[in-house]
Amino acid sequence: MTAARAAAVVGVVVALALLPQVAGPFWMGLATQMIVFGLLALSVDLLLGHAGLFSICHGSFFAVAAYTTAILQVRYAVPTALAAPAGLLAGTLLGLLFGLAVRTRGVYFILITIAFGYVVWGVAHRWSSFTGGDNGVTNVPFPAVGGLRVESDTDYYYLVLLVVALCALGYRVLVRSPFGLTLRGIKGSESRMRSLGYDSNRHLYAAFVLSAALASLAGVLYVYYNRFVNPVAASFPVSVEAALMAILGGTGTIAGPFIGSAIILGLRNWVSSFFELYATVMGLVFIVTVLWAPGGLVGLAARLRRRAARP
């Protein structure tokens, strides 16, 4: 990592840490959302930017984890120390199941993940006796483990910041590892990798499960922030927006998904304050991103830097 980049990262982290001191609760809440959804986008990017698989069902893992944790805490008074890991586990188990999709490639993979995602939404929506239907699960308390309790939104913000920062570090190690390199190899040429001795399906499956686990963690973080969850969390727009965030910010990077998340959520907030055509704006962002910034903003920045560097 270059000195300039390290400085930028430190700068951002410091700014985020100071945010609650300088800005009001609204901005802090928004920042919390941006970080949590950034993590969801990161999970999608593990598959997209590194393994070359475009999955549009990560909202499912996110939602299943959120629902599991919420239901356990609210309905069965299970403490956070068990409810949170249970949520993480539930989402990951779903990942083990949905990972079947890696037996397909390309368009089929995309379509199958879309269909899988919808099944989860459908269950959340229809199985009202258990999931609360469209009303979802409400009154999720703040997390508390042993003597440590989260007492305020500010406390929770710092918790999220810490957890996600650790995730980002872990993710960094993962993508630099032999496993990470293998994924990029498969993305580049699966046939070459198979001839070199790699069981590509197995590696992709492992990556899928890992990304489901990461999405599940985002779901757990989300439900304690939002204090409630409903079927929207598992909906198609959430999954597809997570992918767009990764693309907009720049796939294959660690900062990209978070940048994308900040932009999309920032835009949504700004637009809905005076405009009721939020979906239209989102749609246009999709269209514009695809046609003009396929490499994402990180890619765009790199291109501009290269252009500036030319004599």
């Binding site: 475009f54 397909t104 199958i112 269909a115 229809r126 199985w127 693309i247 749609g283 269209i287 695809v290």
Partner: protein
């Protein structure tokens, strides 16, 4: 019990009839042009809404169908020409682009037609119920829908399998470059096939909106189920769309009847099985 079972079979078949109309366009568009168009659900919804307005204004169901279809043909052409064309064969780009289009269309439709569930008015002779052999009573409209769809399916099949145009399309599905080499105007062929697919989607919206109603969100529900049809039947195969529609329609009907809270699982089942044994669907080609 058996009466209910038979009724559900007919329900499933009527849903299959509708699904086939939406899925057939999607699957042939992909097979020939390698385009994944996630706006098909929005095409359905828009066609339905436009047909609804026409039916209300003129009282003519036929005009509604034609008008709804035509509106979508126009929209579809604009989307193809000014947006999709720039995505080449990048499926990821196509998905995101057409999802964006669907978001815009859905939102605009919401502004124009509002958020309530609306039903396309049908002519008197299609309302009510009819008596089927065996003493069963069944909504006339749904039954006629099955016949209508069979007719369309038959016409499409004849077009696809028995005409020269169909032969060219089939050859194109197998090998796109070859078709260009035969001197046929590939661009014009694509536009025609795409227009037909759009018309089918728009028409499906009118026809479906008469018994399933139209509402915000319907565009995604119909798209997803149509996707399952296409996955099961195999991308690019017309016969696959027929069989897939039937499988999915029946599973959906029986699922809702027997396990209402888990009916989505019932859709999941055949997909999971298929993935284990035949990832490319019943009639699909290599992905």
């Amino acid at each position: 019990m058996t009466t209910s079972a038979i009724l559900q079979a007919i329900n499933g078949t009527s849903l299959a009839a509708l699904l086939f109309l939406v899925a057939s366009g999607f699957t042939v568009t992909f097979g020939l042009m390698r385009v994944v168009n996630m706006a098909y659900g929005a095409y359905y919804l828009l066609g339905g809404y436009v047909g609804l307005s026409i039916a209300r204004a003129t009282g003519s169901f036929t005009l509604a169908i034609v008008g709804g279809g035509a509106a979508v043909v126009l929209l579809g052409y604009l989307i193809d020409r000014f947006l999709i064309r720039y995505t080449g064969e990048n499926h990821l780009a196509q998905v995101l682009l057409t999802v964006g289009v669907a978001f815009v269309v859905g939102d605009v439709a919401l502004k124009i037609w509002g958020g309530d569930s609306l039903k396309v008015p049908v002519p008197a002779f299609l309302r009510g119920a009819m008596e089927l052999p065996g003493g069963l009573v069944y909504p006339t409209y749904r039954f006629v829908l099955i016949l209508f769809s069979l007719f369309v399916a038959g016409a499409l099949w004849l077009l696809y399998r028995k005409t020269q145009i169909g032969a060219v399309v089939r050859a194109g599905v197998d090998d796109r470059e070859q078709v260009g080499a035969t001197g046929i105007n590939v661009d014009r062929l694509f536009v025609m096939v795409s227009a037909l697919a759009s018309f089918l989607a728009g028409m499906a919206g009118v026809v479906g909106g008469a018994f399933l109603t139209l509402y915000p969100g319907a565009e995604w529900e119909i798209l997803i189920v149509a996707l399952v049809v296409v996955i099961v039947g195999g991308l690019g195969s017309l016969e696959g769309a027929m069989i897939g529609a039937l499988v999915v329609g029946l599973l959906d009907a029986y699922g809702r009847w027997l396990l209402p809270e888990f009916s989505y699982f019932v859709l999941f089942g055949p997909m999971a099985v298929l993935l284990l044994f035949r990832p490319r669907g019943i009639f699909g080609k290599e992905a």
